[in-house]
């Protein structure tokens, strides 16, 4: 039996949650005031995911960097692998919001897309 302690992010209450786990299976969640805390805790201990946002270098644009994000959430333990790919990437202007900058980042199957427009300068 193993215990995990979390803070629920569902609302400003920030309930302190305790999750009882056995061999990777959730046995119980306690400390939550409402159902959302239970759902959050189960997802967070079995499959935590995050959206990663950063910037990528641009060549020939009216700005030196373009802001970007993973098109959907990626496993939490892949955050730094995703950042490594982002920091090695260079893209060419023009870029539009939604342009795919890195397909399948760090083998997650998720792409990194631009979150702002960059115009080309000659």
């Amino acid at each position: 039996m193993e215990q995990r302690f979390l803070t629920c992010i569902g609302c400003p209450m920030g309930c302190q949650l305790t999750v009882e786990m056995d061999k990777g299976e959730v046995i119980s969640v306690s400390g939550n005031t409402c159902k959302r805390g239970d759902i959050y805790a189960r997802k967070e201990v079995t499959n935590p995911t995050r959206i990663v946002t950063s910037t990528i270098a641009v060549k020939g644009g009216d700005k030196a960097r373009v802001s970007c994000k993973t098109a959907s959430d990626i496993p939490k333990d892949k955050i730094f692998a995703v950042m490594k790919d982002i920091n090695h990437a260079v893209c060419e202007a023009p870029v539009k919001i939604g342009t795919v900058l890195i397909p399948d980042v760090a083998g997650t199957g998720v792409s990194v897309i631009a979150t702002r427009n960059i115009a080309k300068v000659s």
């Binding site: 803070t7 992010i9 400003p12 209450m13 960097r65 994000k69 939490k76 702002r116």
Partner: protein, 424 residues
């Protein structure tokens, strides 16, 4: 002198939403003046996600949220001037501005919308004597350096203040390879959102020390270490609790303050609590035809509320220009004062003229402390009309109540509405 119906000062989310709403309400003479080189305001440097859940039902990053409003403004052919600094607004609404191509110029506006946003509290927050070595930045400056310029201010970081910008930057710098050693917060609670504490600090094992402050900074040319200590209830450091952290960067995240030099010189009446203008139900200041919205009015944490509030300012400005807003009676008769007391710090608006209000008016406010299992109560005169139980109320979250026009018209003699926090 050139004449324009509505001049909007600031092209951030507030200015953009006001312009879009004013155009949709039928005004064809609108000009946005923005001192920066692009529209979008502070959102351009807020590259993290978490914007627009209310407005667009999806989680956008700051630039994407700004992008949606910029697109709307472009589709509606709204005029704007970039790199243009507004220098002065006179009581009779002559706007003086300056840029490189036009030099200094003046515009006679029929209505003005103040949307200048806010800036970070100055370093004075760092209440320790001595001179300042290099390596000390406000969190927002660091955000601009990292996200816009692509420049990392340092590798070993200590953050003072746990406002959202500080939390966001703790994660941002960690992702870029820096070691964020600690976030120290003077208050016994964080002003930041729970979600940011979990996803920006807990995710990366960054400790948050509540009731702590910086008591010493080392380094001659460049910062080399800081010492933090626990503070007692009097917020004075407790001897013997000092901890030293070597670092090359200290970020200060000590809150935001509305940017109102322009409003003040125009003669706009200011609130000492919000540091923003005092406004009536129409978001109009004491100068008829001068409106305020967004962070220049009071600091918002959700941009969705900024957009909604700004749209109302835009619509009201159009009514004013068309002469449909109705004049404010010179006597206080018919005007209801909103009183914030017992834990409620302020309300926006401060007064309501029932004849000029919409059917349902949103009144926003903040509390001054953390309250658990308490009630938000609204009194019309002495009569309690709303009494809503809340599990938690915190200074970091803006609250709201709705006031109905019919309820006010039914009470012609009422002159105050009181909002307070009650235990039962």
């Amino acid at each position: 002198m050139k004449s324009i119906d509505i001049v909007i000062v600031g092209g951030g989310p507030a200015g953009l939403a006001a312009a879009v709403a004013a155009r949709k309400a039928g005004c064809d003479s609108i000009l946005i003046l923005e001192r920066d080189g692009e529209l979008g305001g502070i959102l351009n440097q807020c590259i993290h996600n978490g914007f627009g859940l209310h407005t667009f039902k999806e989680e956008l990053t700051g630039p994407e949220y700004a992008g949606r409003f910029i697109d709307q403004a472009m589709e509606l052919n709204i005029d704007y001037k970039l790199n243009t600094m507004v220098m002065d607004i006179s009581r009779d609404k002559v706007v003086t501005a300056m840029n490189r191509t036009d030099g200094m110029f003046q515009i006679q506006a029929k209505a003005v919308i103040l949307a200048m946003g806010c800036r970070e509290r100055p370093r004075g927050a760092l209440n320790i004597p001595g001179y300042r070595p290099a390596g000390i930045f406000s969190a927002g400056t660091a955000q601009r350096l990292v996200n816009i310029e692509g420049y990392m201010p340092g590798r070993e970081v200590v953050i003072l203040g746990s406002g959202d910008i500080g939390l966001i930057m703790a994660r941002r710098m960690t992702l870029e390879g820096a070691k964020v050693k600690v976030v120290a917060e003077l208050m016994p609670y964080s002003g930041g959102l729970k979600r940011n504490i979990v996803q920006c600090l807990d995710d990366y094992g960054i400790p948050l020390k509540l009731s702590h402050t910086v008591v010493d900074i080392e380094g001659k040319e460049h910062i080399t270490a800081v010492t933090i200590a626990e503070v007692g209830p009097d917020r004075k450091p407790i001897p013997g609790t000092e901890e030293r952290y070597t670092c090359d960067t200290l970020l200060l995240s000590c809150g935001l303050i509305p940017e109102n030099e322009l409003s003040q010189s125009a003669g706009v009446e200011m609130s000492r609590i919000t540091s923003g203008p005092v406004v009536n139900e129409s978001l109009e200041t004491n100068i008829p035809g001068v409106f305020a919205c967004g962070n220049v009015l009071h600091v918002h944490d959700l941009v969705d509320y900024v957009s909604e509030e700004a749209a109302r300012a835009g619509q009201n400005a159009v009514k004013y220009v068309k002469g449909e807003l109705g004049t404010v009676s010179d006597s206080t008769k018919g005007r209801i004062n909103l009183v914030a007391t017992d834990g409620v710090r302020y309300t926006v608006p401060s007064t309501i003229d029932p004849d000029r209000m919409e059917e349902n008016l949103t009144v926003r406010f903040r509390v001054g402390d953390v309250y658990k299992d308490s009630y938000v109560s609204v009194y019309f005169g002495d009569e309690r009309v709303q009494h809503r139980k809340r599990q938690i109320l915190a200074p970091g979250e803006m609250e709201q109540i709705i006031v109905k026009k019919q309820d006010l018209l039914a009470r012609p003699d009422m002159d105050t509405i009181t909002i307070k926090i009650e235990k039962d």
